[in-house]
Amino acid sequence: MRPSARMLPLAALAVGLVLTAATPGRAEPARDAILADLAAQAKAADAGFAGFSAERGRALFATRHAGGKPKTPSCATCHTKDPRARGKTRVGKVIEPMAVSANPSRFTDARKVAKWFRRNCRSVLGRVCSAREKGDFITFMMSR
């Protein structure tokens, strides 16, 4: 059975909405500014810096690291393996999803971003994260 011609504009609209929702990271000036700032820092630290990588961000997120606090070996310990899912703090409080598609306000407040990278990199890695690592992480979350 063929869809009725009258339904076609509606279907096109639906497809358009889905596509828009699938690329939420692109049209957010605050997040772009945070990424641009991190890119400048990464470039200053390494002249060979050639852009952020969602794949490196994924690895950073999923890896069980050594050197951090024993109860938080990985980002996924609290955020779960799926960035689109809700996580839980060690005492049971819900953490809203990290993936931008599931939580469009992520990575739009520079102070908040700085605070949580500082805390959580120390907790999970036992050190601060580099600008490249932060940019990779955000790029990964924008791709999910």
Partner: protein, 143 residues
């Protein structure tokens, strides 16, 4: 065996219930007490605990070492930290056990030592998850 008099039973019940509440607050304090900054910052990870749950001296030590906060890094910028420290310094309990964990205070241990099966603690994840059982706690009312 001699049976217990009803009066003695009432006495036992009263004895059991007494001492299961946090100490009364120090400064004149509204029944529902909350600070918006503390709610946001502390509440990002756990229930924002009412100041009277611990003595002022304990809050002071906690706020001075947020980098090592019960197994995590909870550091804040100095301005925010000072604001929250002032809130707990003002409304914290005047006296109490010199402990850092609420679960180590006498009133908490007394309130939770009976009747709570191990399976409940497993389900709620941590005794710090007050809200799993005490639904009103997050609004500053710890009943």
């Amino acid at each position: 065996m001699r049976s217990l008099s009803p009066l003695f039973l009432v006495f036992l019940v009263v004895l059991g219930v007494a001492g299961t509440r946090p100490p009364a607050a120090s400064a004149a304090q509204p029944r529902i007490l909350a600070d918006p900054v503390a709610n946001d910052e502390c509440g990002a990870c756990h229930m924002p605990y009412p100041p009277r749950f611990l003595p002022k001296s304990s809050w002071k030590r906690i706020m001075a070492n947020l980098e090592n906060h019960f197994g995590g890094d909870a550091s804040l910028d100095p301005e925010t930290r000072d604001h929250i420290a002032a809130f707990y310094a003002r409304y914290g309990a005047e006296r109490g056990d010199d402990v850092l964990r609420i679960t180590e205070t006498w009133w908490w241990r007394r309130a939770h030592r009976y009747e709570i099966p191990t399976s409940v603690w497993t389900r709620v994840g941590s005794p710090a998850n007050c809200l799993a059982c005490h639904r009103a706690s997050g609004r500053g009312n710890d009943d």
